[in-house]
Amino acid sequence: MDRAVLGWAVAGGIAYALLPWYALEDGIFGFGWLSGYPTDRAGAPALVQALLHGRLALLPVAVFLLAPLAVRGVRGAGARPALLLTVGAGGTAWIAVQGFAVGGQPGIGVGGLVVFAALLMLFCVGMAAKGAFNGDRFVSGGIGTVVTLVVVFVFFPVSCVLVGAVEDSSGAFAPSEFWAKLSAREVWGLDCLSSSAGCGVAWNTLILGVLVGASTTALGLAFALIVTRTGFRAKKALRLLTVLPIITPPFVIGLAVILLFGRAGAFTTFMEQAFGVVPSRWIYGLPGVWLAQVLAFTPIAFLVLIGVVEGISPSMEEAAQTLRADRWRTFTTVSLPLMRPGLANAFLLGFIESLADFGNPLVLGGNYHVLSISIFFAVVGAQHDRGRAAVLSIVLLVFTLGAFYAQRRWLGRRSYATVTGKGDAGLHPPLPASVRRLVYATALPWAVFTAVIYVMILFGGFVETWGRDHRFSLRHYAAAFAVDVTEFGLHWKGAAWNSLWTTIEIAAISAPLTAAVGLLTAYLIVRQRFRGKEAFEFGTMLSFAIPGTVIGISYILAFNTPPIELTGTGIILVICFVFRNMPVGVRAGIAAMSQIDRSLDEASLTLGARSLTTIRRVILPLLRPAIVAALVFSFVRAMTAISAVIFLVSANYDMATSYIVGRVENGDYGLAIAYCSVLIGFMVLVVLLIQFVVGRRRLGRRAPTQVSLEGIPA
């Protein structure tokens, strides 16, 4: 008998017979369930539930678990895989179906989860035994796991919302209403071309997305080139400066932009006093949202592109130079085309980020409506029209998928593998002078501007009242973060401590999970050939295309009732972050992994390493920049997310951002900005720590100094 089969069957059996099948009031680690165990109705394992409490629907699960053990005598070549496939598919399907069909059950708990996972793995082992995925169980199991997770935590909740698109308010099937909502003038109207009235939200969103995507890609490339290809002195500062905006909750940038350019803003006041320019509300609308989003998302493009620019093999550029291309032609005909996958990724990320952004349009949008905001107000506003929200989500999805498709078309099937198994010594050529000047002229003013924005944020926390009383004050910090030393130890008196600890805890749990799931998915997409890979890739990217508002609502709809009951827990926040941020990890992983030659994995496999060992010893060390990116992103986004979170927080699990937004709603800007400054400072530390721990990729390229020394005769 196969050890993997035996192991999973036994694990499933133990969970079935011993672990509480259903979710518990105070969680599995509350240990309250131990008192009545194993007969108590709440904490009983499936076996007891079925035999004592009449939950007979759980009984067939035992059959599925026992089948692979009982029939260990099966010998025929095709029979064993077929048995495993039947057992795995049948068992998981049975658990799901009875969960939905049999009423009166609590949500599924640890026992049910382990049994489900064991049956799923038996299915995957069966797939591998049948010869799928080159017979590799790790790959088979990985794909099975990712697909199941995506189906349960992305497709299922989204389908709950989308069902609403073709239903009227009473829940009946009404396709005509769907058409009416889809073709509405406020969605597709083109009035802005002919009159002063605004265009439809769809056009607004599209225009903003393209502008932001293009701007962030151009700026990100400029920063990446400065850091990797020039002798610029303050590279370290530049790296830090460009990382700042992502560790900032998006609406904070929006707030800072208002503090600068709003009617009472610092810049507006200065222009009025110096040049007599009449203050106006020009910043509210497309210019303001664009400005804030570009500030917020340029670093994403920068982080993606820096890996790409560094990963280009210098020998390619050296080859071009020896082919008599000057620096300019080398750059335009070799370096730039090799960066195309990275550029496309950066644009795609910027575009999608813009579409999904919620905070900045909320703060700065004015009359310029975009889809995410319209969806939000369609649900929580006076309209309360779930159908309209669903229809708008579909429009948004189509846009994102269009971007995704365009990117695939553009990149085509060219191979961009530039880190090959052949040792690669060489030097990146410096940038041509014209490009260098252009890059400096674009990036450096932007860096200065970003610095100004952050000064505003920091300054705002230390004044009595912004715009009126600019005296130095610490009262906002005291209100948020006061700590008393009492005889019982430290007393966390400040109002912000509770939400801060929760946020750190949730972010710290979700970051490595996100990175792991994201990179595993990227590995499967880049390195494995299997049927349905396109659909697989699409599915894993889908959660990114859905704005946080929709995700938030969909999670509430999907996970408020059994069989998966998660609302009000911290788990739902973690899951939400993992699946919302996973695409970032996937993208970073794909971009980096497609630059590592496949023969390296194959060499490792033929040397007797398992897939898992290969990943750990060969791929991961070469992927360090991507790991850093994935960890940083997922941690930081978990700490700064607002759109989905605002629906999912509860009294026990309040997050920093939703707390801050609450303060802003109460007009308490001082405390909000002070809290933001602390968050930013904390995240800077975390980013530096992660970067220090994970370290830098070691490829053995010669250092520039070494080469210049070689040229000097001894």
Binding site: A129, G131, N134, G135, D136, V419, T420, G421, K422, G423, D424, A425, D597, S599, L600, E602, A603, S604, L605, T606, L607, G608, A609, R610, S611, T613, R617, V618, P621, L622, R697, R698, L699, G700, R701, R702
Partner: protein
Amino acid sequence: MSLETRSGSVEFRRVTKAYGPVVAVRDVSFTVAAGTLVTLLGPSGCGKTTTLRLIAGLEMTTSGQILIGGSDVTRVPATDRDVSMVFQSYALFPHMTVLENVCYGLRVGGEPRDRAVAAAREGLALLGLVGFDDRLPSELSGGQQQRVAVARALVLEPRVLLFDEPLSNLDAKLRRRVREEIRDLQQKLRLSVVYVTHDQEEALAVSDQIIVMDNAVIAQQGTPTELYREPASRFVADFIGDANLVKGTLKRTDERLAALRLGGVEFALPHRGATDGEVNVAIRPEAVRLRPADGTDAPLIGTILKAAYLGSHMEYTVGSIIGELFVVDSGGVAAPLTVGAGVSIGFISHGVTVVD
């Protein structure tokens, strides 16, 4: 090292590999005897690399069976196959030193560190790489990288060692030396080696057996001598060495032999199953004999169209009624024929073969 006891055979039984509608390997059967070096030879896209990857377990068969050392490994993944492979690109891990690269397979196989290092050092020494332990692959020359790749594969004492065009990244001089080293090593350790190349000279030089592949099937399998002397088809005749492909007229004279007419020349040779009438004939360039035309009535005459002096021999292109012939003449270097000269043409029968 006690590698010879570990060497195993490879057997393909009617193996097919298809990627959707594209068939890369079609119904291929062959056996590689333990301790021999077998070359898979063919033009690019003929399926030879796919065949190698099927042996390695990097691809799974669509149908058919693969046996290594007598046991069925058709469904066994690469990790568990007990073969190792030297890649065309070498695939040295760029983030590991030479020693770490060579230790890798031993370490992931659970060998304790000191034993793995000792074995790796031994392997590196076998390939003449002493004192490079702490270098990164990028700090080695192409030839050195290649040897590290061989050492890394060798220290695992695999049942079969696979080479995927190992010399294609090396310069010509080095190529000859490295291929001799590989052959010496294989002979010394009695390794089972499967070696992919598109270079027929390389294949002739190193192989015990050559499997010529064309268009996803085996065109011919045999020793270098067999393939050169008795090519089964025009494709093999042309691919292995040079051959003049011409038409002749055949008439069987007994069970084995036939009379072949080329222009006015007639001589006896094995008919190899061909029927009477017009047949395809492959003539090796060195099997053509040229004499200056002396005005007598020669059975086949021609004119020198091109002449090249190559030091050890002359190369001619001769126009005749049976077509243009490419001729290598190593005897007449001292008194070469000139362009435009008339010649009478004769053949040495063991360099002339009837082919499909």
